[in-house]
Symmetry: C2
Subunit: 220 residues, 2 copies
């Protein structure tokens, strides 16, 4: 169960997630599995670049089943559950009209890839273009270039919904009307490759909409 993606009320938690299992697992293993799962799910979520002041993710194991699963398998399933919840939080975010999954690859390492993905999701200009269904790859390169991460602009390739819009740092040849029609309404993926490094990351964000602004401009 998870609720979130809204400053519901300043004196209450803004995201709460509780996961339960009837597996028989000790606190140490649960702690380890939860940290790994959260890293790949809730920590990949960036709705509006505004970190919450008081989030909480809790996992509880009753042991009622009497079964002690393999640690790796349990972590895998816990991660999958957390990913599903994180995506639902994004889909339910204040004013958001769509969820965009950013897949970053080719960075020096995973941490760098995540920082690039977060910088893209932090950009109001990029997220406004997502709202408009505009495959504006120049804003994505601009957002990455505003970080202190060194990458070769001439090695950047970007695709929207599987259609390559830029490669080797310049515009690719593609059917823009067809792509715009494809991403006109629903969710879509954006893949960004910045070179041939092994680092990759997924960051899930939403579009920036007039409704988000109106919602957050209201006095509580």
């Amino acid at each position: 169960m998870a609720k979130g993606a809204g400053m519901i009320r300043p004196d209450m938690a803004t995201m709460l997630a509780v996961l339960t299992t009837d597996a028989a697992l000790g606190a140490d293993l649960l702690d380890h599995a939860l940290r790994a799962a959260v890293d790949q799910s809730f920590h990949s979520l960036n709705v509006d670049g505004c970190p919450s002041t008081n989030d909480a993710v809790i996992v509880m194991a009753s042991g009622a089943s009497g079964i002690t699963p393999d640690a790796e398998t349990f972590t895998e399933h816990l991660t999958a559950a957390c990913r599903t919840l994180a995506n639902l939080v994004a889909a339910d975010a204040e004013g958001a009209s769509r969820v965009i999954r950013l897949e970053i690859s080719g960075a020096a390492d995973d941490a760098t890839a995540r920082r690039l993905g977060r910088a893209i999701a932090d950009s109001a200009l990029v997220r406004a273009s997502f709202y408009g269904g505009d495959p504006n790859w120049g804003r994505i390169v601009g957002a990455m270039g505003a970080t202190d991460i060194i990458f070769d602009p001439g090695a950047v390739a970007i695709s929207f919904a599987g259609v390559t819009v830029a490669e080797q740092g310049v515009a690719a040849s593609f059917d823009e009307d067809a792509l715009v029609a494809t991403i006109a309404d629903g969710d879509f993926d954006v893949a960004v490759s910045v070179g041939d490094g092994p680092g990759q990351a997924t960051v899930v964000t939403t579009d920036l909409t007039p409704d988000y602004v109106r919602f957050n401009a209201e006095r509580s």
Copy 2:
């Protein structure tokens, strides 16, 4: 002269400022004066947290007057001119309905004060509340707390348009209806003190509006 605050077209500069003087001044002095002036003006501007990829500020001295002013006096006047232009750029920013001047004080040093001011101006939540004319100081503290800068929340004081809304980290007693009426439409100042350090900075920003989102969602 300055133009800017809009990604007018991706292959053109997004902010251009040109200053001219008929003073007789060499390149070294002009360079030094311009860097000082820009630091206190254009570098204090943060419309939407999205650094431009290609800004330029140029100063030219013709020497036609035959007068060589005192360096300090010239820098002062150049700074004042740059401040005026930077404020005009903010006032003319895409979709902005008002300009907010953030005055940060009490930080360890000026650079820290500026980083705090920029973090506040980077926050979509804070800028949406500016649009709504909501003296939401909790979001300001949240934006500062999301940085890696250490400060004592219990020492924070915040005022809107000269009215103290928080002191020693908690809500102050003030006439909220009167304040909301005061800041309902026009520009206003927000003063944030984070302690008793000597560091201070001014950051000029605008409100985040539905028009900003709509404007930047349109395909060019």
